[in-house]
Symmetry: C2
Subunit: 318 residues, 2 copies
C-alpha cells in the first residue's frame, strides 16, 4: 500500500499547474464575526468542473504510461470525480469510461457526457457497479482510477492545501470534509509538512460518520447506509486513507443535517458564493464548536460548488 | 443641475477607498464559450452590503458637512440603497432614517435595522413614501440622499468602472444594468474618459424599459408600471441621469424575463457566484445579441448579489 509523501504533492502541483485553476482564498468579515474566528476559505468551488476533484483526476491522467493513455481510464462514480476524470482525460486525448447508476440525475449524466466520456449505466448497487467497471476493463484494458483509494489522486488533492498554506502560511487549524478521505488525506499530508503544529480536522455529517467512528475507535469501521444531504460524502474510508488520516489528523468533528443547511445558506447569503452541501460541513463544524476555534485563524477547504438549483434545501423563513 | 465629471469619480475613489472593497474581476471560459466573446465580470456582488450601492452611499456620507452629519441622512428605498446608506452612515457615526413600505420583505427590514438605521414605515405608494420622508426631514433636519438623482451618488457608483478599467484597460464594450441610472451614469462617465472609443451599453428588462424608450425617442419618458423580476431596476431615470446617459451611452438593450432567469442560472451554475436578477440583465443582453459582441472583450458590471434564497426563480429541468 503506497502512501504519498509531501514531495509527491509538490510533484503533483508542478505537473497539474498548467491545467488547473489556482483558486482564490476568500475571507468574510461577517462570517468572522459570526464564528468568532478568522476564517480563510480555499475556494475549490471555482476549480474546473466545480470541485477539487479535478486536481487529483488531472494528476492521475498525467501519470499514465503511454500504453495506459492509449487504453483509457475508467471509474465508477456519479459525482464530481466522474466529471473531473472525464474532463481531465478527454481534454488530454485519453478516453474516459464512466460507470454510473441508471438512476443518477439527468443533469449529472449530461455533464459527464458533455465532457466527452463514454457512460456505462448499471443498476444502483455496489455489486452492479463493480461488475460493470470490471466488464469495461475486460473489454478496453482501461486503467481504473479510484475516486480516492489511489496514490496519485491523493497527491493531487493535497495541492489545494499546498496553495492555501503558501498564500496563508500559518493558520491555527485547517478543516476539510471527509467522505472517502482523499481530500482530507492530501490536506493532512501538505498541512502536517508545511505547518507541523497546525491542528488538522476532518469534518463529517453525523449521518455518514464512518470516518469519525473509525478515528475514535482506532479501527477502520464499515459504513452504515449514509443518508446525508452532503452527497459528496457518502463514500467511506479505505485502508490507505484511514492510515494517512489516523496518523496525521487531530480529530474528526461531526455535524447535523440542520447545521449543514444553515452553514450552506450562510455562505450563500453572506459570501455570495455557491458551495455544495459537502463544503458546508467544515463551516458547520466551526460554528458548532466555537470554543475550540475562538480567536483562531481557521482555514477551510471549500470542496466544490455543484448543486441542483431546482432542488435547494432552504426553507421559508419569516 | 450638477453633473459629475471624471475628476469627481477620481475624488470619490480616493475618499471611499478605506471603506469599500476593491472587488475582483472574474472570468469564465465556459461563459466565454457560450457567449462567443471574452467576458470580464466586475463583481460588486462581493461589495459590502452585497451591492455597488455601498460605493455611492459611502461617498455621499463622506461629503456631508459637519452640521449635516449631526442631523443625519434619510432616504426612501426598500432595496440595496437603503441597506447601503444605513451601513455607510451608521458605521461613520451618522444617523440614518430609512423610509420603507410596510409591505417590504421582512428580510430587508431586518437587514436595514441590523445596520442600525431607524426605519419609518409607510403605505406602499410613491405619495406615502414622499410624505413620510418629508416628515422625517421636518422632524430631524436630515439630508435626503436620493438613490440615484444625486451628484455624489453618481460619482461614487462610477468608481466600479474606474477599478474595472484600471485592471483591464481596453475592453471593446462595457455593460451595466439601468434602473434609475445611477450606476450606468457613473459607468459612462468613467468609461468615456478612460476608453474614449469603448462602446457603452445600458441593459434593461423589457418590462421596465423606460430608459430604452427615453434613449431611443431622445426624450425622457415616464415609466410604465414595472413588473420585472429584476427588483433593482424598478426605478426610472431622472433628468440628471438621462442627461448623462443620452450623451455618453451608445445604446440601451432590452431583455425578456425568461432571458434574465436563464442568464442568472448560467452565472450561478457555471461561475458558482450568486448574482441578483438585476445583475443578470447585462449578461442576458450579451447572450441575446451575439453578433454584436462576437469575438469582443466585453466588461459587465455585476451590480449585486442580494436574493431571497427561499424564493428562487429556477424551474424544474429534466
Amino acid at each position: 500500500m503506497f502512501i504519498p509523501e509531501f514531495s509527491d504533492v509538490i510533484a503533483a502541483a508542478e505537473a497539474i499547474a498548467p491545467f488547473v485553476h489556482r483558486t482564490p482564498v476568500m475571507t468574510s468579515r461577517q462570517l468572522d464575526s459570526i464564528a468568532g474566528a478568522h476564517l480563510l476559505f480555499k475556494c475549490e468551488n471555482f476549480q474546473k468542473v466545480g470541485a477539487f476533484k479535478f486536481r487529483g483526476a488531472t494528476n492521475a491522467v498525467l501519470r499514465l504510461s503511454d500504453e495506459e493513455r492509449r487504453r483509457g481510464v475508467v471509474t465508477h462514480s456519479s459525482g464530481n470525480h466522474a466529471a473531473a476524470l472525464a474532463h481531465a482525460a478527454v481534454s488530454r486525448g485519453v478516453r474516459a469510461y464512466i460507470v454510473m447508476p441508471s438512476t443518477a440525475p439527468e443533469v449529472k449524466k449530461r455533464a459527464v457526457a458533455g465532457y466527452g466520456a463514454e457512460i456505462t449505466f448499471c443498476a444502483p448497487t455496489a455489486e452492479a457497479r463493480e461488475a460493470a467497471a470490471a466488464e469495461v476493463i475486460r473489454r478496453t484494458g482501461a486503467t481504473l482510477i479510484h475516486p480516492y483509494d489511489n496514490f496519485n489522486i491523493i497527491a493531487g488533492q493535497g495541492t489545494a492545501a499546498l496553495e492555501l498554506l503558501t498564500d496563508h502560511p500559518s493558520p491555527d487549524a485547517v478543516l476539510a470534509p471527509v467522505g472517502g478521505g482523499g481530500l482530507l488525506s492530501g490536506t493532512a499530508i501538505s498541512a502536517r509538512h508545511l505547518a507541523p503544529s497546525i491542528k488538522i480536522y476532518g469534518t463529517e455529517p453525523i449521518l455518514a460518520d464512518d470516518a469519525a467512528r473509525s478515528f475514535h475507535t482506532r479501527t477502520l469501521q464499515p459504513p452504515l447506509p449514509p443518508r446525508t444531504i452532503a452527497d459528496g460524502l457518502l463514500t467511506s474510508l479505505s485502508e490507505r486513507t484511514y492510515a494517512i488520516i489516523s496518523k496525521n489528523v487531530d480529530d474528526i468533528l461531526t455535524v447535523s443535517e440542520e447545521a449543514i443547511v444553515e452553514a450552506m445558506q450562510l455562505a450563500w447569503e453572506r459570501m455570495k458564493i455557491i458551495i455544495e452541501p459537502s463544503s458546508a460541513v467544515p463551516l458547520a463544524a466551526v460554528l458548532g464548536n466555537k470554543s475550540l476555534f475562538a480567536g483562531k485563524t481557521v482555514a477551510i477547504i471549500i470542496s466544490g460548488g455543484n448543486v441542483d438549483l431546482t432542488k435547494l434545501p432552504f426553507g421559508q423563513h419569516a
